[in-house]
Amino acid sequence: MLPTTDSHPRAAHDFLQDPERSAWHDETLWMVRTKRDRMASRVPEWELLRETASQIKEHTLSQLSGYLEEFADRAEANGITVHWARDWEEHNRIVLGILQRHGAKRLVKSKSMLTEECHLNPCLAEHGIEVIDTDLGERIVQLEKGAPSHIVMPAIHLKRSEVGELFRRTMGTPEGLDDAQALTEAARQDLRKRYFAADAALTGINFAVAETGGFVVCTNEGNADMGAHLAPVHIACMGLEKIIPRQEHLGVFLRLLARSATGQPITSFSSHFLKPRPGQEMHVVIVDNGRSRQLARPDFRKSLACIRCAACFNTCPVYRRSGGFSYSYFIAGPIGSILAPNIDRKQHASLPFASTLCGSCSAVCPVKIDIHTQLLKWRQEIVAEGHTGWMKRLAMRAAAFVFRHPRVFRMAGWWARKFLPLANRIHLDPWTKTRDLPPPPNASFQEWYRRRGK
C-alpha cells in the first residue's frame, strides 16, 4: 500500500486495467445492493427503523463510558472476564496472555475485522500459535496469504474459479472445481477437523448489550458457535463502540444488519452469549485503539455508530470500480475513508478524496452516518495540515483569486474559450485525455445578457 496523496487513484488505475474483472466486480456488488433494496422495501417502517437505530447509537455514544462500565459489571457478574485494551498492541498482549496461560497452540477464529485491525494473526504466529480463520471468506483470504478486500465478503476480489485453484493448491481438491456448493463443502470438511483440535476459539462481537452483559455474534455459517461451543476457552473481542444499551434494541439492529449487508432478512445465525458454560472460560476484550480520540471529534464521532454492514461499500460507485485494495486502510470503502484519517492523515490522505460526494453511502447507511459530509470535512483537515501536493494548493489559490475578481474571471473565461479548441486537439490535460470539451460559444451568457436589447 502506498502512503502518498495519490495512492488511491494510482491503485484504482491498476484495478481498472482489467476491464472484464472490474466490470464483474461492479456488477457483483451492485447485485448485492439491489438485493438490499428489495429486502428494505419489504419492511414498511424501514426509514423509521434507520432513524431509531441512528438515535440509539447517538445516545449510546453520548454516554459511552457509562454503558461500557454497565456492560463490564454485568458481564463479570455472569462469569465473563473483561479486559480493556488501550491499543492494538495491548489487545494482542491480552489475547496472547490468555492463550499462553492455557498452553493453547491452536486457535479457531470467526470473522473479526478488529483482529485484522490489530494484526493479531501474525502476532500469534510469531509465538507459535496456529490461527485458523473459520469464516469461509476469511479462510480463503488466509489460504491465499492475502487480506480482506471487503468487510462482509472478504474474498470478493476472487472469482470462483480462482478459489477452486487456490483450494487445489492448498487443500488438494480436484482440478477445475468451480461449483460454490462443492467448494464450500471442501472448506467445511477441512475446517471440521480443526474445530475439534482447537484449544481456544476467538470470535468478534456485533452487539454487546449493557443491560445484560451478554453479546451477540452474527454469522451465516455458524462458525462462531461451532468454535465457541467446542473449545474450552472463548475469547470475544470488540471495539468499544459495539455497545448497545438494552436487549430490546437488538430487535432494531438485527433487522437492519443482514438486510443492509447481503439482502437477507437476518443472518443465518445470531448467536447470543451470556455466560461461560460449566468448565469453559469466557473473556471479552474491549479495545479502544483510537476510538476515543474519534469520539472526541464532534464532526466525526458519528462514524463510531457503524455496524459494519458494508452497505456503503456495495453502493459506492467508486469502491465498486476501484476494489478494496485501492484503499490504503484495512477497512475499505466509504466508511474506511472516514475512519482512516483518525489513525493517520498523511498516510491516508487520498481516501477522503476517493469519492464524488454522491451521497449514496449516507442514504443507504442503516444507522444514518453522514458519511459523505464527513469525507468533505476530512478533506478540509487534510489540506489544512498540508498533506496535499503543492501543485494542487497553488491551483486552488489561483482559482480562488480569479473567483474573487469578476473582471479577471471574465478575462480568464474569454481566454479559456479561445484556448478550448486547441485543448480538444492536443489532449494534454487529464480532462481532454479522455473527454472532449464542448465547442466554445461565441459569447458568454453575461456578454449576451448585457448586450441584449441594445
Partner: protein, 241 residues
C-alpha cells in the same frame, strides 16, 4: 416577484444557452428576471477540494449580489446545494430563497403545463447533489414513495419519451476535481452511465446539472456515441436545438 438568475461560472462561459433557456422560462412565467453583474463561481470546487476557507469569499460575494431578490434561481443543482448549505451555516436568510431551477418551477411556480415539445427518447440523469442533496426526487436507497420533480416537469413536454434505466440514479463520476484527480474511476463511471443510456436507446441524456452532462457529453463525443446531452432547461423552455 423579482428573481435573481444565478448563472454558475462554467455555464456562463461554456453553456450560455442553458442560462438563456432558464432566463426565458422564468420571464415566460411573468416574473422580472435579472442576472446581476459580477457573478463568478459559488466556491464549490474550492470547498470540495478541501479549500473551503478560500471559497468563503465567493459565498459572501454571492450573498451581496443576490441578497435583494425575492428568489434566486440557478440551473445547477450542485452549485445551488453548495450555496444553500453555506448560507445556512452563516444564518443568511438567502439560504431559504435560493432554488435549483426545477425545484423552483415545481414547488414555487407550481408549473402544471408547458408549451414545449421534444419528440425524442430521453434518459433522465438524476444528478446526485440535486437528488440526494436538494431532494429533487426519491433516491433509490430510500424507502419512501417515489417521486421526481424533473421527471414530472419532463412529463409536461409534448412527445418526450422518458426511457427507463438499469440504474436509476447511479453517479456519473464527475464529482468536480474528482474528474481529474481520479480520472480513471471517473471515466469508468461515466462510461457505464453512458452505456446504460445507450442500452435503452436514449437519444438524449438530460439533467438538472450541466456539469454531469459536460462529463457524459465529453465521453460520448470522444467515443463517437450517438447519444447527445441537453440541459433540462433547454427542453422545458422549448428551445432545444
Amino acid at each position: 416577484m423579482t428573481i435573481g438568475l444565478f448563472v454558475p461560472c462554467y455555464i456562463d462561459q461554456l453553456y450560455p444557452r442553458v442560462a438563456r433557456a432558464s432566463w426565458e422560462l422564468l420571464t415566460g412565467l411573468g416574473h422580472t428576471v435579472e442576472s446581476p453583474e459580477g457573478q463568478t463561481c459559488c466556491g464549490q470546487p474550492l470547498a470540495n477540494s478541501g479549500h473551503a476557507a478560500q471559497g468563503e469569499p465567493c459565498v459572501t460575494g454571492f450573498s451581496q449580489l443576490f441578497g435583494q431578490y425575492d428568489a434566486v434561481v440557478g440551473p445547477s443543482g450542485s452549485c445551488v446545494l453548495h450555496l444553500k448549505e453555506h448560507l445556512e451555516q452563516r444564518g443568511d436568510p438567502l439560504a431559504h430563497r435560493i432554488h435549483e431551477l426545477c425545484e423552483f418551477l415545481h414547488d414555487i411556480a407550481r408549473v402544471e403545463r408547458l408549451e414545449a415539445t421534444f419528440p425524442h427518447r430521453v434518459g433522465l440523469h438524476q444528478s446526485c447533489h440535486g437528488l440526494r442533496g436538494l431532494g429533487l426526487g426519491r433516491p433509490s436507497e430510500c424507502q419512501i414513495p417515489a417521486f421526481s420533480k424533473p421527471a414530472r416537469l419532463l412529463g409536461m413536454v409534448g412527445g418526450l419519451e422518458l426511457v427507463p434505466l438499469d440504474r436509476a440514479d447511479e453517479c456519473c463520476g464527475f464529482g468536480g476535481t474528482f474528474s481529474v484527480q481520479e480520472s480513471d474511476v471517473s471515466v469508468a463511471m461515466g462510461t457505464d452511465r453512458l452505456a446504460d443510456h445507450e442500452r435503452h436507446r436514449a437519444e438524449f441524456i438530460t439533467s438538472a446539472d450541466m456539469s454531469c452532462l459536460m462529463h457524459l457529453g465529453g465521453l460520448a463525443s470522444r467515443a463517437g456515441s450517438p447519444v447527445k446531452v441537453i440541459h433540462i432547461a433547454e427542453i422545458l423552455a422549448g428551445n432545444a436545438p
